[in-house]
Symmetry: C2
Subunit: 414 residues, 2 copies
């Protein structure tokens, strides 16, 4: 079946889904969860095919670990669906409402987008996750997963579709898009009018391609060249804790810090401490010439370092002469994801928060907090780094549009 045909079927499913009540959707989510657990053996067996292929292809153990499903991991997928059922339904929320001077009743109400296309790499658990989030927000999902998870994704989607259908909602609420070819990504990008929004999740190349080539509206996610700026008025202990946590708490996430900017006035006090702690944590410090003066272990930074999202045990460190120099540096090299300042000065933190152009600003807190779970959203479909529609961690409301419903009694415009 072509993507075009799948999208057409999804549009039909989306009509009923948009009118489904929360009770109907939650019943489907709970049945999806139960059936996944009941089918854990089949899903794990299907996953073994992918894992064997990955091994035969000589993939790294880290990649194979991410790909591997166990009954416990299938159970975690089911629990994720149950948590979604417990979350409030955004659909029907009245975002704005008033009674106009002429008596017309105006309500702006949350409605689903309709059809959401997800393009993602990596772990097969994203399949259940994305399907659940789309269903809860009333959207039909076209899921284009990784070619390395073909067999796993097919097994998961077969179980989920049957459960959705048995729960009385259209099976085409969830469809898997052919992942054996790049053509399916192109077809999704061209399905304007059939697909309402595309969400690419994965590497920078995938995201750039989709953003530049798609005629379907896109929500850009995830590239994070995040900075920690240690101001002259920083508390050294907080600065150390925030820097180390931002860099090392997890290396490969988009909200991990990749650069550290230190105010010149505090460099003597702070840099020896932080360089030592970074290095003892196994992090390679790439520094500008002034930073290199503080330790023989500092590697010389090149211009490329300032713009690199390492996703590894590396950090670029620069000394800046003022908060505005820090802001200029971030403006030049940042990706608009998360920027942190450590400072006891309200003047400095206000200026930084007002002038930094990013989805999230952390004041005396780790960049690692930019996360739907940490923010208490209960579910996260990704972290938007664009300004249109959604910015930062996206929960269920970010997967909706709105509709004005205006009620009159034969009202005409004069």
């Amino acid at each position: 079946m072509t993507v075009q045909q799948q999208a057409t079927d999804a549009r039909v499913a989306a009509i009923d889904l948009a009118a489904a009540t929360r009770a109907e959707k939650d019943r489907a989510l709970l049945l999806m969860a139960d059936r996944l657990e009941e089918s854990a053996e089949e899903v794990v067996a299907a996953n073994a095919v992918d894992v064997n292929n990955a091994r035969a292809a000589g993939q790294s153990e880290a990649m194979i670990d991410r790909l591997t499903l166990t009954p416990a991991r299938v159970g975690a997928m089911a629990d994720g669906l149950r948590q979604l059922a417990a979350l409030p339904d955004p659909i029907g929320d009245v975002v704005r409402g008033s009674t106009l001077a002429n008596g017309l009743e105006l309500r702006q109400v949350r409605v689903p987008f309709g059809v959401v296309g997800m393009i993602y790499e990596g772990r097969p658990n994203v399949t259940a996750d994305a399907a659940g989030i789309c269903l809860k927000s009333g959207n039909a999902a076209l899921l284009r997963g990784s070619g390395s998870a073909l067999s796993s994704n097919a097994a998961i989607v077969a179980v989920l579709r049957k459960a959705v259908s048995d729960a009385g909602l259209p099976a085409d609420t969830i469809q898997l898009v052919d992942a054996t070819t790049r053509d399916s990504v192109k077809e999704l990008m061209r399905a304007r009018g059939l697909v309402d929004v595309l969400i690419p999740r994965g590497g920078a190349d995938l995201i750039r391609t989709v953003v530049e080539e798609s005629t379907v509206p896109v929500i850009e996610t995830g590239v994070g060249n995040c900075h920690v700026y240690v101001d002259e008025a920083a508390d050294l202990e907080k600065a150390l804790a925030v820097t180390i946590n931002s860099k090392t708490q997890r290396l490969s996430t988009c909200n991990t810090a990749e650069s550290l900017l230190v105010h010149a006035a505090i460099a003597d006090a702070f840099l020896p401490l932080v360089i030592e702690e970074l290095i003892s944590a196994g992090v390679t410090v790439h520094g500008d010439p002034r930073v290199a003066g503080y330790s023989a272990d500092v590697v010389a930074a090149t211009d490329a370092d300032w713009r690199t999202e390492y996703l590894s045990a590396d950090i670029a460190v620069a000394i800046v002469d003022s908060i505005d120099d820090a802001l200029d540096h971030i403006r030049r090299f940042g990706t608009g994801h998360t920027e942190a300042i450590v400072s006891e000065s309200t003047t400095a933190t206000r200026r930084f928060a007002a002038r930094v152009d990013a989805a999230a600003v952390m004041i005396n807190a780790s960049t690692r907090f930019t996360d739907g779970g940490e923010f208490g959203f209960g579910a996260e479909i990704g972290i938007s780094t664009q300004k249109l529609h959604a910015r930062g961690p996206m929960g269920l409301p970010e997967l909706t549009s709105t509709k004005f419903i205006v009620t009159g009694n034969g009202h005409t415009r004069g």
Copy 2:
């Protein structure tokens, strides 16, 4: 100067503008208004050049009327700017906020987009309007107006830039983009990273081109193939009033009704009345074969009629056998702008409102009410017909993005 250079200058201006207080922005808006009035003579003289060119090119009197500025019309532009100054500032509004379990203080705050590109046709008053709305919402504006209003727009922008600068904000908050060539539109569409959002306002061709070719995120505006559906349970008097008003109150606007769908069960009672009234109002009725049976004055409708946004004294009329047939028709031919139902049945109005996929649904009210002014927004930059970011009339908040500001005390993630 290239569009790229202008956009770069706009980005610099946008940094200060984003941090400007409401008081600073309102002072600029009021000075812009005063200066426009003081310069009315120069602006009208500059406009005369455009008007003479239009006459020499043999433009229609209607087009020339839309182009022409008088001191009174310049005064109306100034009043528009004063009204903007009186509106609340969306910037800094806390959209969502909470204190997390770990004590982190989370605030999601409205911030400007940064740089907004407007591509528009027609009346030169849009220039002052768009500049004012962008400034009030903290955005730098790149204005690409009509080639027919070159001299008028240059005069208006010169006055506005001087006023903005004299009020202490960057002159590059407002810039006019070369309208002598289509290349400037292409350059705007390619200025990803420099321009944050593009808003095309004009004909369907312009909007389609921008939507399909722009790599800069776009807010699609305005094409309206709006329907009035008269249900079997309609009150005939309300149905008549709503239909006539939706079609004839103003012919050339996007919220004007272009099609009428009548339930078969009420056709005998309603169609003779409405056809007579439409025809006596000078409207040509294009009907399907069943509708043609009601009057010799009905012109046979072709398939093209159902998809045409006439913007003229024409209406396409069809009989449908059920509310679901009406919904199917609208799904097939509608543009997602405004759809109206006339019915006394709550079952019918609930079903219609839930299932019709449009920016606005009118229940027993004219389609003409879909308008920022009518909705009480105080200012309108256009009517979005897309689902991402903004849908329906866009006021000041729709010209903003958000930023999460998270305040801690050395918080790290465990």
